[in-house]
């Protein structure tokens, strides 16, 4: 052992008297390394703890979100989705109410009133419930249905459209109903709570 120590000292060109200093340096570096290890250990501990807390919060938020989504599905969607289908079925019935290319004003008013009545029923039976769960979803769905009602009202009241013509009907009415329908369902099924 002493031989090894001497060899190292020769190799590093260190005088015998200086060995003490080397030992002090070694001790010092040991202390510094131990201190850094302690800091690193403490940092890892704090970091991990924060991460765990964050993860717990996220799990709790997701749990609440899932419960809310489940309730939304069970209380509103499952029992009430038929009302949405019924609304669009009813709106599609306006084709049968268009008896000719030149409807008089009373006939037009009757069709427009029919659309507005159906919209009002959908609002009272379905949209108002959604409003209690999520106001943004309610606004999006309401805007969609308003847009459909307004588009159909504009088209039906306009003398220029010959709605008995199949192509005109499909372009001005059917396509708008289909677009509104798919957008309505898409908004419901993409709702994530």
């Amino acid at each position: 052992m002493l031989y090894l120590k001497n060899n190292i000292m020769v190799l590093l060109c260190i005088e015998k008297g200086d060995w003490l200093n080397l030992e002090t340096l070694s001790n010092l570096s040991n202390i510094i390394i131990a201190f850094l290890t302690l800091i690193l250990g403490f940092y890892v501990f704090v970091y991990q703890k924060n991460k765990d807390n964050k993860s717990d919060e996220e799990t709790e938020i997701n749990r609440r979100k899932n419960i809310k989504l489940q309730w939304f599905k069970e209380i509103i969607i499952q029992p009430k989705i038929d009302l949405v289908f019924k609304f669009y079925d009813q709106i599609n019935k306006i084709k049968g109410k268009i008896n000719g290319n030149d409807l008089n004003d009373d006939e037009k008013i009757e069709i427009i009133n029919f659309i507005k009545k159906e919209q009002s029923e959908l609002r009272k039976s379905f949209l108002d419930l959604v409003q209690h769960i999520n106001n943004n979803l309610h606004s999006e769905l309401s805007l969609n249905v308003d847009k459909l009602t307004d588009n159909l009202t504009d088209v039906i009241s306009n003398d220029e459209f010959k709605l008995k013509n199949e192509a005109t009907y499909n372009r001005e009415i059917k396509s708008k109903i289909e677009y509104s329908y798919s957008e309505f369902l898409s908004k419901i099924f993409n709702y994530c709570g």
Binding site: K116, R123, S157
Partner: protein
């Protein structure tokens, strides 16, 4: 009694027999200054052109939103009167729908 009137004839789209859309409602609300008229007068009369076929709730909701919110349902019906010579279009149901929607939205927002 102070009384003001708004003739919707002056605010309709040329050739159209209907009032539809939220944007149109906002635009007519601003142009008619209905919010100020209701504040400054005891009664406001809104005249519906004779040949009108429909005033949709989407339009009415935006047109009347501030007035209904500030007056409440009862006072609104007392203070704001709709008149028309038309025998074929009755605004009652559309108005009721719009007022109901405005008050529901207000309640939903206040719960937040």
């Amino acid at each position: 009694m102070n009384k003001a009137s708004i003739d919707l004839e002056n605010h309709r789209t040329k050739g159209s027999k209907v009032f539809t859309g939220r944007e149109r409602g906002i635009s007519v609300r601003k142009n008619t200054k209905i919010d100020v008229l209701v504040k400054e007068n005891e009664q406001v009369e809104i005249i519906i052109p004779t040949d009108i076929m429909s005033i949709n709730p989407s339009f009415l909701e935006e047109f009347l939103t501030n007035v209904v919110k500030s007056l409440g349902k009862e006072d609104f019906y007392k203070k704001v009167k709709f008149s028309s010579d038309s025998t074929r279009y009755d605004i009652a149901l559309d108005l009721e729908e719009a007022v109901d929607r405005i008050l529901r939205n207000e309640n939903a927002l206040s719960k937040k």
